[in-house]
């Protein structure tokens, strides 16, 4: 789930409808984006609890989506360690786990560490078999905002002519990847058909692109990490959310949700959202 396309469309709409605010240096994207997770606690709470706001429910998407709630690593693990492991696996890795176990959240958490390691990232989210590009693309021909939904056939066509590789043989052009490796992130890799997966892995091999994917089960790509969140982690996450927005949800509710949904943290949050709403409206 991502708000980025929405924000871009809002920005475009605003610039179109209000040309006076669309001038260079006057209208900026920064005012449109939702507050970052780090600054959310500092925001002033609404004047009255009767006003609809995100502060009404700590389990709303804005608090629980990937990126808003940081991934919790097991003891001794961290983003840097995983990036090192990915490098040791020749930049091929799969984050494996069941639905709602935090695969997308981990992918978002790894992004800054990968960029710090010198990776140039192109990420895709696969939903209903269609890959949607997110973030800065490799290629200048790949225009963000105008061609959002792409197929991997397009990726193959567009990823090959890297701006620096146009005038020299490809193996030399990718020699710089020791310092600046191009890495493809795919959220929902196993939703692709086998043929597209085959083409993609061949493309990555041929172009010496890194590939980091999320999937529900083991793949031919070596597993980077396997996620299985337990009750203790869920309790920690709920406590973290409750510290931002108060809730009357108790440990019994968390235990009951966990008993119903197991390690599907996303469904647990949805269930707790409903429980919180029921309690709130009952009061």
């Amino acid at each position: 789930m991502s708000t980025e396309p929405r924000i871009n469309s809002v920005q475009t709409r605003l610039e179109r409808d209000n040309p006076s605010v669309g001038g260079a240096g006057i209208f900026t994207r920064s005012s449109l984006v939702a507050p970052r997770a780090s600054e959310l606690p500092s925001l002033l709470a609404p004047r009255s609890s009767e006003l609809p706001s995100r502060y009404a429910n700590p389990f709303a998407t804005c608090w629980t989506r990937p990126g808003a709630l940081p991934f919790r690593f097991a003891d001794g693990q961290g983003a840097e360690q995983l990036v090192e492991k990915l490098a040791a696996q020749n930049w091929q890795g799969a984050i494996v786990g069941p639905h709602g176990s935090g695969k997308s959240t981990l992918l978002e958490t790894l992004r800054p560490a990968l960029q710090a390691a010198g990776c140039e990232i192109q990420s895709f989210a696969v939903r209903n078999g269609c890959a949607t590009a997110c973030g800065t693309p490799f290629n200048v021909k790949f225009k963000f905002g105008t061609a959002r939904s792409i197929t991997f056939a397009n990726l193959e066509r567009q990823a090959v002519p890297h701006p620096e590789s146009a005038r020299r043989p490809f193996p030399r052009a990718v020699a710089h990847t020791d310092k600046c490796r191009r890495l493809i992130l795919i959220d929902g890799y196993d939703q692709l058909g086998w043929f597209e997966r085959l083409r993609l892995t061949r493309l990555c091999r041929r172009q010496k692109l890194g590939l980091l994917v999320t999937a529900h089960g083991p793949l031919r790509i070596p597993t980077l990490i396997r996620l299985e969140p337990g009750l203790q982690l869920v309790q920690q996450l709920v406590a973290e959310l409750a510290a931002r927005v108060s809730t009357s949800i108790g440990a019994a509710d968390v235990n009951a949700s966990h008993a119903c949904y197991g390690c599907n943290v996303r469904e647990i949050f949805f269930d707790l959202y409903d429980r919180h709403e029921s309690l709130r409206h009952a009061v």
Partner: protein, 155 residues
């Protein structure tokens, strides 16, 4: 500068407005380093909050920039005003909420930012009611009736 030093107030004490009504207010920054802000942005916007996809749109936007010719001193209260649109109206639903707010974002030196937000209500759409307790009471009545019928049949 601490984030709470932004003071953002709406003129209407109830923070309740109608479509087409004029929303007015003011904001200022308290503290000795108020002068150090490089820019300030004010947005009147709506967003959705709930279980699913999120949406948002900015209705009103203004940006103040610190320039040599016009230094930005936010210790002086800045007023803002905008006429509110006909939709979307505020809604406090169980699955989704439509929320309106005024947001001020300060751009400070070294890439730091500070944000303050004040919510308000647009329109009179009533909040969603929790049907569950009523359903439960109905279920109890139905259950009691069926028990009565069962008892009569036995008699």
């Amino acid at each position: 500068m601490t984030p709470s030093s932004i003071r953002l107030t709406l003129d209407a004490p109830t923070a309740h407005y109608q479509a087409g009504e004029r929303l007015t207010g003011r904001y200022m920054v308290e503290g000795t380093q108020a002068w150090s802000a490089r820019a300030a942005e004010l947005s009147v916007l709506w967003y959705t909050a709930g279980k699913g996809e999120e949406d948002m749109a900015v209705h009103h936007f203004e940006r103040l920039v610190d320039e040599p010719a016009r230094p930005l001193d936010l210790r002086v209260p800045r007023r803002f005003a905008t006429v509110l649109p006909a939709s979307p109206l505020s809604y406090d639903g169980q699955i989704v909420k439509v929320c309106w707010c005024v947001r001020v974002r300060l751009f400070l030196p070294h890439g730091q930012e500070s944000v303050a937000e004040t919510a308000f209500r647009l329109g009179n759409v009533p909040a969603a009611r929790n049907e569950e307790p009523e359903m439960r009471s109905e279920e109890r009545e139905l259950g009691a009736r069926s028990e009565e019928r069962g008892a009569r049949n036995v008699d």
